[in-house]
Symmetry: C2
Subunit: 340 residues, 2 copies
Amino acid sequence: MAVVVSLEGEREKRADSLDVLLGLVKDELERVNRTIVERMHSPVALIPQLASHIIAAGGKRLRPMLTLASAKMCGYREGERSVKLAACVEFIHTATLLHDDVVDESDLRRGRESANAVWGNKASVLVGDFLFSRSFELMVEDGSLSVLAILSRASSVIAEGEVLQLITANDTGTSEASYLEVIRAKTAALFAAACRVGGVVAARPMAEELALDSYGLNLGIAFQLVDDVLDYSAKQAVLGKAVGDDFREGKITLPVILAYLRGDEEERAFWRRTLEDLDQGEGDLDRAIGLMTRHACLSDTVDRARHYGAMARDALGIFKPGPEKQALLDIVDFCIERAY
Amino acid sequence: MAVVVSLEGEREKRADSLDVLLGLVKDELERVNRTIVERMHSPVALIPQLASHIIAAGGKRLRPMLTLASAKMCGYREGERSVKLAACVEFIHTATLLHDDVVDESDLRRGRESANAVWGNKASVLVGDFLFSRSFELMVEDGSLSVLAILSRASSVIAEGEVLQLITANDTGTSEASYLEVIRAKTAALFAAACRVGGVVAARPMAEELALDSYGLNLGIAFQLVDDVLDYSAKQAVLGKAVGDDFREGKITLPVILAYLRGDEEERAFWRRTLEDLDQGEGDLDRAIGLMTRHACLSDTVDRARHYGAMARDALGIFKPGPEKQALLDIVDFCIERAY
C-alpha cells in the first residue's frame, strides 16, 4: 500500500495548494460566480431556484478555476473572456450533474439533498437542458468558433461516456480499459476542454492548446479515480458525502474491477451478488471495503491516479515557470492526495 | 362551430400541400435523412439504436422541411448548409422529444412505444443530451455564429417553456395568456428558428430573417393548438395516436382552459377532479369531450389557430411569389386543417 509520510504535513500542503490556486484567480472567480447568478436568471422562477440549489451548494469550482488559471498562465490578462467561458464550463458541469442525479437516482449531492430529490426528476432534466443551452448562448456571445467546437465536442463525448457507463453498469466483468474509456469521456473530457479553452482565449499556438488539453485530460482521470476511492473511504464522511453510494448503486469503478480480478471464486460471487443482482445485506459494504483493502485495490487505484497525475504535470513542461503554472502543478497533487 | 365545407375536397387539398412542399425539397430532405443517420453514429451502439428508434419512427420532418423551403424561397440553391442545419433542427427536436417523454412518462410516441418505455428513462435523458450536443457540433462545422445564436437561444427558450409547463401542469386555473406563453416557448420557438436559419444561409437582410421568424412562430403556435385539439378528436386514432393522452396526464391545454372558463361550478369541479387530482373513472374522457363540444372549445381552439395561421401567412408578404412561398403558405392550411 502506498505509504504517505508525514500525513499532517501533506494535509497542510494540500490545503495550501488549493488556496494558492484560489488566490491567483480570486477576482476572476468572483466574477464567474456573478456571471453564473446573472445568467441562470429566467422569468421562470423555478429555474434559478433549482439551479442555485446545486450551484450554490458549492463544489470546489475546480473546472472554472482551471480555465481561469490556464488562461492566466498563457498570458491572458483582461479576464472578461476567461470569466465568461469559465461560467460556461461550470454550466455544462452543472447540467451534467443534474442529469446524472436523475440517471443515478441519487438523493444526495454535495452533502445536501439533490435537486431531483427536492423538485423531482422532471424539473432536473429540464433545468439541466436550460443550463446547457444557456452555456451555448454564452459561448456564442464570446464569439469564438474554436471554443464552441471544443465545448460542443466535449459535451457530446460526455453524453457518450454516460451512455457507455449506463450500459456497462452492474457488470463486474468490466475491464480496466473500458472503465478508463468511460471516465475519460464522462469526467476527463470536460477537464481537458476547460483547460484548453484557457489557451484559446490567450491565442496561444496549437501545441500549447493541446498541452493544456492533455494536462486537463490526465488530471481529470486522476481526479475521477480518486473520487472512486473516496466512495469506499472514511475520508468521504468528512466531505459530507455518504460512504458506499457507488456500492449501493452497483457502480463498477476501478477499485471494484481490481478486487474482482484479484479475488477468488467465492469473492467474485460476492461481487456479483452485491453489484450485479444488487442483493445487499448488512455487513456487505464492510466486507467490500475489507476485500479491497486485502487486495490493495484502493491504494493501487490511487497509484494509477498518480500515473495520470504525472502525465498531467509533464504536459505542462512546455510552459514557462510562473505562479499559475506552479499552482496547476500543485493542484495535481491536491487532487490525488485528497484520497487521504 | 366552424363549418368545413366540402370536407373531402379539403382533405385532398391538404394532402396535396404537404406533398407539394415535400416535392420541392425532396432531394435535400433525403440528404437531411442521410446526415441524420451519419451524425447520430457513435461507437456506443445504444446511441444510434435509441436515436434511430425515434427518428426513424418518422414524424413529418416538418421542421427540417421548413428550414429547407425557407432557404430555397430566399434564393439559396447550393443546399449543403441548409441540409446540415435542417439536420441540426431535427436533432434538437428529437432531443426535446426524448426528454419530454421522460418528463411526461409517456409510453407512446408517434404510434409506437416511446424510447423511454423500451430503453428506460436514463438512456433517453443521456441520448437526448448526446443529440443536443451533436447538433451544436454540426452548427460549429457550419461556422455561422448567427445560426448558433438563433438555435442556442431557441434551445434555452424551449427548456424555459418546458419548465413553465411543468409548473402550470394540472392547474385548471391557467389563463389562456400563460398557456400561449408556454407553447410559444416550447413549440413555436423552434419553428421560428428553423425558418429563420433558412434566411441566414441565404444571407438575406434582417427584415427577411425576422419575417421568417414571425412566420415560423405563428405557424408553430397554430400547429400546437391543433395538436391540442387532436388529442380530444377521433381524428387522432387515424394518426396512430391514442386519444385522451393529454387528459390522462392532466395536461392543461387551450380546449381545457376554455371549457373551464365557460363551465358552471359543477363542470369546474369535474375538471379539477379529473385534471388536478387525476381522479379519473370510466366515462370521464367522454364527458370531457362532451363538455368541450357543448362549449365549442375544440372548434374555437381551431379558430384561434386560424388567427395565428393568418399572421404566419401575412409575415411572408415581403417575399416574392414563387413555388416555395406558395408551399409555405399552403402548409399553414395543412397544419390547421389536419384538425379535421
